[in-house]
Symmetry: C2
Subunit: 411 residues, 2 copies
């Protein structure tokens, strides 16, 4: 076991098995939380993992969730959440929270957005109001949200994109990364144990809405850089190297699953991973299916997030150990068995496929909730299976067996 501590001690990452290449077993420690990796983060876009409460996430064993800065910045606003004690207290969630920078949504959801040196300007998709997201500003917003892991602002180049555009946007992303690192250092040195580092003083917040004074119990938050570079391995490698020079608590791989073909993804991902230090966590943003996660774990990725399990669940498509189950199908109408016989989640323990299908057919909200509970439970089991396999030095066997089961399954 190699314990690697970065200079700012914002986040500790213990690599229990593996190295810079291939599957790794790790333990991320941040602000008193311990998160075994590889780990999957359910997506709680607007301070709720859709259909679930925080008590449900606890019951599912989730340790770390993702929340979207763009959405929370617009509604209810970062100021309000700060006044109410930060996002953890706001959504009554005791686990970890990673927030993105908001840039991706500003570009994909907002109207009349433009990217310039200063940052991303956009009009709200809700009311048309004008906003500017800068590298410094998004860190300030995330500090108000008081998330545990925060992301730098980047330009996520959509695919397909040629080399010129990719290189240009990468260069801007790297200039923004440098500004982010400087802003982070300024904030840390201005208030080494306090505000900028994201220490929460819940009493202070409640009393006067001011964000000062540490409670001593919570370590500072972490800042992750984001590798871009599209489908060009050399740009990906350059991006990773430059970020490592700047020094971040962890490194995300951005700009994947944005329109590129699966086989276009691998060379860029491998080039980036090869340039990242073994002792820092790697996070593949927005990916993916259980099998995509398996592929990325095989290459040395530690963290994942994706709306797929929750979004598909609400539409009636569930992940199981035997592949996808479309529970609205006629075949489920009188199937008294559970969603997934191998799953022991609250939905599988109690309810039948027939009942779940009925709920979908008549449009009951409980349908989406039960389906979400199962699919997130399945993702938790999937990640636990991956971790156990790495620990037992049989990841390749696990991957082969799980893939075969899912591909031939027919749940």
């Amino acid at each position: 076991m190699k314990a690697v501590v970065n200079p700012s001690r914002r986040v500790e990452f213990d690599l229990l098995r593996g190295s810079g290449r291939g599957p790794r077993l790790g333990r991320l420690r941040i602000r008193g939380l311990e998160i075994p990796t590889p780990a999957f983060m359910p997506v709680g876009t607007r301070a709720s993992v859709k259909t679930l409460g925080s008590e449900d996430l606890e019951a599912l064993g989730a340790r770390l969730i993702l929340a979207n800065t763009y959405h929370l910045y617009l509604r209810p606003g970062a100021e309000l959440i700060a006044r109410l004690g930060g996002l953890h207290r706001f959504m009554a969630w005791n686990g970890g929270i990673l927030t993105d920078s908001g840039g991706f949504q500003a570009f994909s959801l907002a109207r009349l957005r433009s990217i310039r040196e200063e940052g991303i300007e956009f009009r709200s998709h809700l009311d048309g109001s004008r906003h500017l997201l800068t590298p410094e500003g998004v860190l300030d917003i995330q500090a108000r949200l008081d998330s545990d892991i925060r992301m730098v602002l980047d330009v996520c180049t959509p695919q397909p994109a040629d080399r010129a555009r990719t290189a240009e946007e990468l260069a801007l992303t790297l200039r923004w990364a440098a500004r982010s690192r400087e802003a982070w250092d300024r904030a840390l040195s201005a208030a080494p144990d306090e505000e900028a580092a994201g220490i929460r003083d819940e009493e202070g917040l409640r009393a006067g809405g001011r964000r000062a004074g540490g409670d001593g119990d919570r370590a500072p938050a972490a800042l992750f850089g984001i590798v871009q570079g599209g489908t060009f391995p050399d740009l990906r490698r350059e991006s990773a190297e430059r970020l490592v020079d700047l020094g971040f608590d962890g490194y995300a791989l951005g700009g994947f699953s944005v329109g590129e073909r699966a086989e276009e993804r691998v060379p860029g991902m491998e080039a980036a991973l090869a340039a990242l230090p073994a002792g820092r966590p790697r996070y593949l943003m927005g990916v993916g299916t259980p099998l995509e996660i398996l592929d990325a774990v095989a290459r040395g990725v530690d963290l994942f997030d994706c709306v797929l399990p929750t979004r598909n669940a609400r539409k009636g498509t569930l992940f199981t150990w035997r592949g996808k189950l479309i529970v609205k199908n006629r075949a489920c109408a009188d199937d008294g068995g559970p969603i997934d016989p191998r799953c022991d989640c609250p939905a599988c323990r109690r309810y039948s496929r027939a009942y779940l299908r009925h709920l979908f057919q008549v449009g009951e909200q409980l349908a989406g909730r039960l389906a979400t509970i199962h699919s997130l439970a399945f993702y938790q089991q999937w990640m636990a299976g991956i971790r156990e396999a790495i620990a037992a030095d049989r990841f390749a066997d696990f991957a082969r067996e799980a893939r075969a089961r899912m591909e031939t399954g027919g749940a």
Copy 2:
């Protein structure tokens, strides 16, 4: 304490305090379930109390819920539910279930419906298919659903209605009640411990879809008659007397909250209650607000159901000990306090008004769920408060204090 057992022993009702008039404390025992009365039944129209699972109802302490025969008959169908082991198993609910006859919805929701001697003919509001609900047929459907308390088919006269129409529809309701009683007896004598009485044989049902053979653990279901007669006290009394002559396990007061003014309700209700036996449960259908329930308990009603707490909750209006709370109001935006400081439900223990308002503002499904949990918890607490007050012989004080708090409150 007077233990009153009716001849068919379908349901036992122990009157622990009170008599035929005034507030009563009771215990309804049916099929191994014990339900303290006065009690409120959450409405699970389509085999789900909207937004909640059966585990949530258990956690709220609900013992008896209502399900709508009309909706379940159309989707997913009574046959399917029977094949899957009945409604309890279908929705994984171990508490009691009362089913209505379906007549009310057939008349209020369906298209091209007509009432004739044989029954109610209607076209489905879903697909236009033609159906006939007869007194005998609705008992058969409810037997397939295997509910614990079943209702006879009646004509619910909408208000305002003149005496001639009210009397005519009451006469038909009473002829249907007699047919229902005969059908019930025929079914009981044909299979005294089995099918018609609603004994479940879950293995038998699973194996072959046949509804025969008792498991010995479950007593027969109960059949309730329904008093009609609109706003005319003499018709209400006549209706109650004729039903008592026929003999039912319990008596419902139907045709209230259907357009009449509150003051028009009282004489008819009192006339009916005066004609009903003290030792049988009385059920006021579709009522109502906490204060309406208080008024009816004061007159000797034992059971209630209403969509109000659940429907209002989903729209953001919550019942509290200090009256209604419109949680979408701006005042809740930065209110870090709980929905109701006096409530210890899972929603109040964990979440703030500000968070709940945010969830409503952005349209998260969790909003309706948390609001429903609170409002049903409040109704449970309200009924428990009523029962404790009756037991302590201080119902009048409780009613006065609770009314004053709710009317002056401003939650």
